[in-house]
């Protein structure tokens, strides 16, 4: 628990009429880039708000950098830099004044970092925040977060309004100045390509629950799509095998482990294995998250039922 940057146990957050977070147990190691993925409304921002003390969990508990969420919140905030989804700052203050406002809170604040990043990002330091474009606002917000000297960066959709060049620069900074220093980055996003680039770990959340939490490398090493055609193939699954789609004799499986063995077994049963292919993050995301939506004709109800029961 103490070696983890973020740990939660059955975190629940109930808003009137909706369980935004529904039994979430996160394990985010230190010194990694952790991609927190999910659709809009999956519970990402609610989770982050709880971790940062902006909201209170209905049930469950958690720690951030070893400190208890809620009880030791100030200690967490001293060591955590947060980039919120809205990225809103005081309109009448300039970035320079915002730096002046923020630096006093953090003993590890780095003025060199401010100078370096303000130059790299080309931020107009003396224009009031209200008059900045969306891209410049994001950059100013990132500047404050990066200069804080934090052990953990929590980024909620950090790329809003950033053009590809700035985004690329930002990723380089994250690698060189944060991850290489042994600090932790927690990125919440539905921009899969940005996350896939830099992430070591992936946590995939849907309807307030974790569908998957693993090293990205392991996922890519072990997860496979298997498309087959044949009769009497398995319709229900083990925890490792999901039936994604079915059309008559054709089936598409998502296999989480030992894909070759499963494919071989299907072959011995006389099926034609058309393809055993590795998955990119986008395909994994869609495959796991789309289970509740109709994907093919026929067997829709059974598929959804079988898949969700195999995941629970």
């Amino acid at each position: 628990m103490n070696e983890l940057a973020i740990w939660t146990e059955n975190l629940v957050k109930v808003y009137p009429g909706v369980r935004a977070v529904d039994g979430l147990s996160l394990n985010v190691p230190r010194g990694v880039a952790y991609g927190f993925l999910g659709r809009n409304g999956a519970g990402k921002t609610s989770t982050i708000r709880i971790l940062l003390g902006l909201a209170r969990a209905t049930e469950g508990r958690g720690t951030v950098l070893g400190f208890a969420v809620g009880r030791e919140q100030v200690a967490i905030l001293q060591r955590t830099a947060y980039v919120s989804e809205s990225k809103n700052l005081y309109g009448s203050l300039t970035p320079r004044e915002l730096v002046r406002f923020t630096c006093g809170f953090y003993p590890n604040w780095s003025d060199q970092a401010v100078a370096k990043y303000s130059r790299l990002f080309e931020i107009p330091m003396d224009r009031p925040f209200a008059k900045l474009s969306q891209g410049n606002r994001t950059k100013a917000y990132l500047l404050l977060a990066l200069s804080q000297g934090a052990d953990l960066l929590v980024l909620d959709e950090p790329a809003t309004g950033l053009d590809p060049v700035v985004l690329d620069e930002f990723l380089r900074i994250l690698v060189q100045d944060v991850i290489a220093e042994g600090r932790t980055v927690f990125i919440s996003s539905h921009q899969l390509s940005d996350v896939e680039q830099i992430a070591d770990w992936i946590g995939l959340i849907d309807h307030g629950r974790l569908l998957l939490e693993a090293r990205l490398d392991d996922i890519k090493n072990q997860f496979r799509f298997i498309t087959v055609a044949g009769n009497g193939l398995p319709q229900t699954e083990s925890p490792e095998v999901l039936l994604l789609a079915s059309e008559g004799n054709f089936h598409k499986y998502l296999v989480k482990k030992n894909a070759e063995a499963f494919a071989a077994e299907l072959s011995w049963q006389g099926a034609t294995v058309a393809e055993v292919s590795p998955l990119g993050l986008r395909e994994i995301f869609l495959a796991l998250v789309r289970k509740e939506e109709p994907c093919t004709s026929g067997n829709v109800g059974e598929i959804a039922e079988a898949v969700s029961s195999s995941l629970s």
Binding site: R49, G53, L54, L77, S86, N88, L89, Y90, F101, T102
Partner: protein, 247 residues
């Protein structure tokens, strides 16, 4: 840091009262002196002391008190409550401080400003009296800065608390004004119709100034304790609300 920001944000709402209140005091002191003197006529020192006493009661206890309350109400529409309207609450509340820090720091800056305002008003009155009557009759009027500041803190704290509750300065101000008028009129009505005496902050300020002026024997210790307690309870209530607030 945050103190600097509170000061910056309050500047525009501070500059008018800090000039207007002393100016009003000078004006009314002059009026008081002119017409009372005219009525009494140039006479023995007792009339000078009466002038001083009357100015303390009327100008400070009446005019300055009322305007301090009004200004206090307006100045209180600030602080952490406004952060929600500005949509910067998720920035501020993630800075490593307890929520009580935000509440009390903002409140302290405002109350300090009010105290400066009250003292300047009192000093202006004192100075005007000295100038007009030619000498310092008594140093006591300076003490009225205390009930003025306390009363101002109550008004400020009221709007400040309402702003945190409503998460909006303008709404907080509306509620604050509403409650203030109730506190202004209800005791008057209760006393007139039912002969019941209810505590009123203006009544307290007036009573305290009268005591300082020597126009009344009774030191309003009960009111002093009560309104000081209320002045401190309001920001405390704001703290309780902010601690439970979700962004």
């Amino acid at each position: 840091m945050y103190i600097w920001k509170c000061w910056r944000d309050s500047r525009s709402r501070f500059i008018v009262p800090v000039i207007a209140l002393p100016a009003l005091c000078v004006f009314f002191t002059y009026m008081e002196f002119k017409f009372a003197f005219g009525m009494i006529g140039a006479g023995p020192p007792s009339s000078v002391s009466q002038t001083w006493s009357h100015a303390t009661s009327f100008v400070l206890g009446g005019v300055a008190s009322l305007f301090t309350l009004l200004f206090g109400l307006v100045m209180g529409a600030s602080g952490p409550g406004e952060e929600f309207k500005e949509r910067t609450a998720d920035f501020l509340l993630v800075r490593p401080r307890r929520r009580s820090y935000w509440v009390w720091t903002g409140w302290s800056v405002g109350v300090l400003e009010l105290s400066v305002m009250a003292f300047l008003a009192v000093a202006a009155t004192f100075g005007t009296l000295t100038y007009l009557t030619g000498h310092v009759q008594t140093w006591r009027p300076l003490a009225t800065a205390v009930p003025l500041a306390i009363g101002g803190a109550v008004a400020y704290g009221l709007t400040y608390f309402m702003t945190v509750v409503a998460r909006n300065g303008q709404q907080g101000l509306s509620y604050g004004f509403g409650i203030f008028f109730i506190d202004l009129l209800l005791p008057v009505a209760a006393s007139y119709y039912r002969n019941v005496s209810l505590p009123s902050v203006l009544g307290f300020m007036l009573g305290a100034c009268k005591w300082v002026a020597g126009a009344s024997r009774a030191f309003p210790s009960g009111s002093l304790v009560l309104w000081t307690a209320i002045a401190l309870a309001l920001p405390f209530a704001a703290q309780l609300v902010l601690e439970r607030a979700e962004v």
